[in-house]
Assembly symmetry: D3
Homo-oligomer: 159 residues x 6
């Protein structure tokens, strides 16, 4: 059967050895969706019309968390990120948060993009939970990645 790359033959957990891989430009985009009840959405949007602060808090938290990916994810490699972006869009009452990461390194930045989107979503939840504890973070997923030996991958629904 297929074997996850992180499980070595003796069962130990180890970081994948990337010593012999080439540096190349790599990027990845991930998305988190936060479903809000109508009252919570209105409060969030109103705050954004005023000063944009709730979105800025989530944006900054996502960017800073991306830089902490190797600290959070046990087998993630430290990566010299060259860019991180967190952006927002509305799909009805669902807030879509995208995390984008780029680097020139020997390994990809899928986790950095996933962490950015996830922590931005958690921050939105933290900002809104006094209004509605039931807010859910849905469908945190990778949208695309490019670079490295495995090249480009896109989520089927996004092509």
């Amino acid at each position: 059967m297929q074997q996850s790359s992180h499980i070595t033959p003796d069962g130990s957990i180890a970081m994948v050895d990337i010593s012999n891989k080439n540096l190349s430009h790599r990027s990845a985009r991930a998305r988190a969706r936060v479903r809000l009840a109508r009252a919570a959405k209105e409060a969030l949007v109103a705050a954004s019309l005023d000063k944009g602060d709730a979105f800025a808090a989530a944006q900054i938290a996502g960017i800073m968390a991306a830089k902490q990916t190797a600290t959070l994810i046990p087998l993630a490699h430290p990566i010299p990120l060259s860019e991180v972006q967190v952006s927002f869009a509305w799909d009805d009452d669902v807030l879509q948060i995208e995390g984008l990461a780029r680097t020139n390194a020997a390994t990809g930045v899928e986790m950095e993009a996933m962490v950015a989107a996830c922590v931005a979503a958690l921050t939105i939840y933290d900002m809104m939970k006094s209004l509605d504890k039931g807010i859910t973070i849905e469908t945190v997923e990778l949208l695309e990645k490019h670079g490295g030996k495995s090249g480009s991958w896109r989520r089927a629904s996004e092509i």
Copy 2:
């Protein structure tokens, strides 16, 4: 309209002042669901039968991340956690991850539980992504919380 507790009258972002709140026992449980394709699930389960390492990695990452919540979430207060647990259950091809947090403090541990579940899920994704980049983290949400002035809250679907 309702006002998020984190937006002060002048629009600034500030931590909620909990100086005058009483210490009390507080707990919270959150859940993340990770949907796996059949091949990925089989590889994950096989690894667990061998050594349980993939689950241990996610469990430890979730526990350690809960302790870092105030570092990740801009307006979260530092909290002296008295307990963190991360546990797993299967619902068909969906892996359910629960994070539980307890403290005796002046504020609740909803974010600690959410972060534990989220980072455990991100770690499972990291362990499995070489098999399937399309694995999605679904429905990260609070299940219940207890303690403090607002008392108990349970997600309707869980009662």
Copy 3:
């Protein structure tokens, strides 16, 4: 001559032992001043009229750094902060940044307030340095502190 509290009789560096001090409410306010050339001030203010993002970045960085004070300052004690605020005001072309911290603990929060103001100022510098590397951070200083055995202290110029 006067002896700094951090230098023990044998010259070693050690954290002050606060085991026998009482928990009490403590607060502190500190201020950093950032002097900007006219062109830089205009760009900063324009950004604030648009979205307030530069100020939000500095505000969040200051709040998050206050929570990291014990990680940055060798002999600082870990403190369960109950509140951190970062606020801004203009004095001509000088941006005044105030950091406020509160806790119920056995030691004061002067360093937390100083770190908040300082890192917020460093963030403003980082946001503006592409326009003017010569921007200076002036006069990072404690304005007042309250609580604990030494009680209240106010900077003479502020009374």
Copy 4:
């Protein structure tokens, strides 16, 4: 009007994309000045004659903080620092602290030098505050930087 490099056209906060920039040797020097009352200066100097511990604490704190720059400053890139130095000099009752940073990277180390000087100054303040809470950190500023596309810059007063 001039536009800060960190504000993208849609107002979002994002890290500057350095993916297409060349690696080159970069350095930067920054200075913080700490003004001490005569009694505080004497205590600090005496400690240095004994063991130099107060200066060592500030020196180490500054070096370690420089390595944490990307963790503290929201839009700072992770940088593989090749050298960090913190040094001291007296100008009457003003302690001058210089931070020096070097790297071979795609972006400069101005923030690393500023953070080193700033945190070293904050540490001196922490060591001395039991003697004088009114000690002020003055004029944290960049002295010079070299390397990269924008080449060399020196503070006018230092040329």
Copy 5:
């Protein structure tokens, strides 16, 4: 057979639940021994006679690491340390490093003391390794602990 407190009945790894334990004064002392060849010892001692910097580096690193114990050790609880001390003594060519930690908390500080001694020893190794990579850290062990339900414990050889 005896069961480690960290392994719950279902085999999962979880933090011990200290929610129902009383706050009390707790302390612990641990020791690390670093064996140096004669030439290395002489260089270390000479540096200490000059400025004491190598010892200060190790002292500060040990104190700062003690504060990071919960970040390093998966199941360690965050603890509001009230004091940390790192001290040195010579036993022939063996450098003895003691870490002392105190707190008022619901759990003990054995790990904080062990981490302080260990990281101070690792720092001495780092400072000396250019002279002798073969320097060994020996016998990192707990010397005594006090407080909490299990009361006092002392290493037999130390009584």
Copy 6:
């Protein structure tokens, strides 16, 4: 007499300047030995037969700590680790823990390997201390290193 590389001519502590060193493949292996009383060893081994969780906790803690080496050790350079492994073997009642680190960088990974072995050992101690506080960590030492200007070094007893 020999001079440690970290002490500059004026006595200051500074990071070694590696700006002019070449990137090359570097590796290092270190070992920590944990001596257990028979009852403690049996409990540890039984846990490993069940789920291997105690070893997984130590393994993950060691890997994650290696990535934090520059945060823990004052003068350590940030290094883009390409691999970290932690493995275990029994020598009677002594648990041998090996840390292995690799990178392509301008400096070696001896400290990363030492930190990995050390923190894994501290984690084993933490997991077992409720059974026996007297468990000792022995002989944390470098076994070998390769790469860079000084080339290969092996501990005499290991050749």
